[in-house]
Symmetry: C2
Subunit: 106 residues, 2 copies
DNA sequence: TGGTTTTTTGGTTATATTGCCAATTAGACA
DNA sequence: TGTCTAATTGGCAATATAACCAAAAAACCA
């Protein structure tokens, strides 16, 4: 693999990796509905605020979310909603796997 | 997050995680063109055959690729080509980041 | 059967990720 | 200024990933 290709793949991998975590996927879905502050997301996810804050700063670092300060709160919002498109294919993959499981039992 | 939701997010994360690696992204792109055996992919990626074999079995385990035995060789192919759709959005994210970098310099 | 080729698996080491707690920072306001 | 509240950062321990080499498996052929 050429160095240039390698770098492009690494850049892509960083974005996908940022999405590839249960809590972060959930947060991305939540943020699609409306912007939310860290405490709200921590509550929704069921994890420590510090943990969620780190997840959010990772998502922000790759450009998937954005934030906005309001008083002592920080509101995060989905910056590139196209990431939601991932789910369609992911669900298709999971469905296909499921169908094969079923075929094995029959 | 409810237990059910948690499980669905974990399933999704497994699929995305399988994609989230430079070599694996490259292999997925290669496999889009045509099926390939392990040695070919190892050559193209520039890694040890055993390393590539492990990457492939991970991709297979989540249902992204499929394999077919032919003599001593094993040919892998893209089973769910919709994963290629990811790239469109990923590139958009990277482009947006780049635009912002440029704005900072100007 | 023995030898060759291709792939997978096991084992090890190095690195990265995750989650929590504790401490710090930042803003609002009495 | 002191004291809230909200969020971030640092640090640590547990777990997961990744790469390589060596060894085992699988399929072929002489």
């Amino acid at each position: 693999m050429e160095a240039k290709t390698q770098m492009r793949m690494e850049a892509r991998a960083r974005v996908l990796k940022a999405m590839a975590h249960p809590s972060r996927l959930f947060m991305v879905e939540q943020l699609n509905k409306k912007e939310r502050c860290v405490a709200e997301l921590a509550q929704a996810v069921g994890a420590d605020v510090s943990t969620v804050s780190k997840h959010l700063s990772l998502l922000k670092s790759v450009g998937i979310v954005d934030d906005r300060k309001q008083g002592t709160q920080v509101f995060y919002r989905l910056k590139t909603p196209c990431v939601l498109e991932f789910f369609g294919c992911v669900e298709k993959v999971l469905q296909t796997n499921l169908q094969e499981q079923i075929m094995l039992v029959k």
